[in-house]
Symmetry: C2
Subunit: 304 residues, 2 copies
DNA sequence: TGATGGCTATACAAATATGAATATCTGATC
DNA sequence: GATCAGATATTCATATTTGTATAGCCATCA
């Protein structure tokens, strides 16, 4: 029990995430009997059942659900390990994994990363589009581009600039429904915004009306989904000026009244500063993203 | 390369930490040829040498040194995994691992934990005495007793009270060298204090003299080592009142002039709140340690 | 100088884990 | 209601991994 083999937990995680031995076997390039035997071993080793078997798959027990986060930690560390092992620490080669919001990853990053790839063709990039915050500490990613100030310990953070954000709509939509000029008129429009998420809107209001999910008639927590809705002419939604400027069909709505700034931050784990390829991308992003969003004032910090 | 087996990294870590294949084999209950083959596999898999072999053992290359922290992460997660698997989440059985400073772990905790063991004999305890701070996030320990306010994210923290601290010396020492009553006289004494550590003394001063390692003639970063030095009659050093009160040979030095309070905190990872045995110990410690140090005001908090 | 205890490397037999094939069950679908 | 896709369990031959035994190297110490 002391020396439960690490390999078994890998099968455990895959089984839990795939919902079946067969699925786990496929994802691990093993076979179903093998994974089944691994689970058997684990169960007899810890003395508890981990899954309730059924013909349609395996259902994790509450014990298994409790263990799952730790197995994920293990997996994250294992993946970070092979990523780190993918190149010499001091060479411009290997894999770097970065995470960003969907809209940043889809709209802003690609041209910048294309440039980076040209300069450093031996550095491979993995881009994870996610709005979760807890990636860096677990080494789920090496670098994060975020719109909030990173507050976690052991992170190196650098502000690359402030992103201007305003309301936009497709020109066709505005032809159909008119361009509002007052907050009352605006609230009567078809608005696009967040669903469950609370963070970006907690302190906002339009005129006297606080911004809650209820005022939106099209709700989507994925910022890229919102942008797509705006582009499809569904209604009025927020968009970064720098993105809207490239799209001739997007028209600013009440730009003089509604306009705010969000800081854009780069963050990486402190440990990674000595890994050249990661440092290289970090510095490159700081430079290029800063130029892109047109930062006036810059600020850098390092939290303890 | 994608599917580097987890098991291999376990051998890698053991090899690095033991400094030899043979040692690693012993610690893993394997044999030296097996561990050697594991390292071979890893090296050919990532295409780099990890250790320079020699007749006296294996020396990690710089690549290996870079990978080591991640292997430790993996190991910590694996250990947390088997610890969590050691008992049902909802039952008062299994293993709980807690960390505390040396002096707290040696002087204050044992009687309290003895009581806990009487009440919950099926909960096994692992106590790690360490002054490092980074244990909880990696799940190196489940619960920490600390003398600083935990500031890391995802931690549940609770203040159990304020510990009074003052200067003490062994009565024999004072017979030999006299009991100082002024700060000048005090500074002429043989003082016991920290060596490298900076945190506890950064803002302190004795009279007009700032407290730096140089004023101590006996320096030790281990607080228990300092206490032992005080008890051995080496000189004057700090001690918690509650500990000194039990020792008839310890005499307070200038208690009216030098006396300060340090908050004592309990901390645990947020994820563990739903694990009964851990919650049980956390609450028990909050209660008993609070009574022990005699807290006047209590405060609890949860950081985001 | 010679013996000893630590280490790595290698060869071969034994133990172990794996995959292929198959039986069997379940739920969805036509 | 029959059929099909996808799931787990079981068996057995095969492939892989492991341990044992051994040889060789180097430092330390009497």
């Amino acid at each position: 029990m002391q020396n439960t083999e690490w390999e078994l937990w890998r099968s455990f995680l895959a089984t839990a995430e795939n919902g079946s031995l067969s699925g786990a076997a496929r994802s691990l390039s093993l076979t179903q009997p093998t994974v089944g035997r691994h689970i058997d071993k684990l169960e007899s080793s810890i003395g508890t059942s981990l899954f309730t078997r059924s013909q349609s798959g395996l259902l994790p027990t509450s014990t298994a659900l409790n263990l799952l986060p730790y197995a994920r930690d293990m997996s994250a560390a294992a993946q970070a390990l092979i990523r780190m092992a993918s190149g010499e620490a001091g060479s411009a080669a290997g894999v770097v994994r970065l995470t960003a919001s969907h809209v940043v990853g889809a709209e802003l990053l690609p041209p910048v990363l294309a440039e980076f790839r040209k300069i450093h063709p031996d550095i491979q990039l993995e881009v994870v589009l996610s709005d979760r915050q807890d990636d860096l500490l677990r080494h789920d990613a090496d670098i994060a581009v975020r719109m909030t100030r990173p507050s976690q310990s052991a992170l190196v953070a650098k502000k690359v600039g402030d992103v201007g954000i305003g309301l936009y709509a497709d020109s066709d939509y505005l032809k159909r429904c008119g361009l509002p000029t007052t907050t009352e008129a605006l609230l009567a429009h078809s608005l696009i915004g967040v669903d469950q998420a609370t963070y970006p809107i907690a302190a906002l209001s339009i005129g006297d009306t606080p911004v809650t999910p209820q005022i939106f008639s099209y709700r989507c927590d994925n910022d890229l989904g919102q942008l797509a809705a705006v582009r499809a002419g569904i209604g009025i939604g927020v968009c970064q000026h720098v993105i809207a400027a490239r799209d001739p069909n997007l028209v600013a709505v009440m730009p003089d009244k509604i306009n705010f700034q969000l800081g854009m931050w780069l963050a990486m784990h402190e440990d990674l500063r000595s890994t050249y390829r990661i440092r290289l991308l970090f510095d490159f992003l700081a430079e290029e993203m800063g130029a892109l969003v047109g930062s006036d004032e810059r600020e850098s910090q390092r939290r303890e």
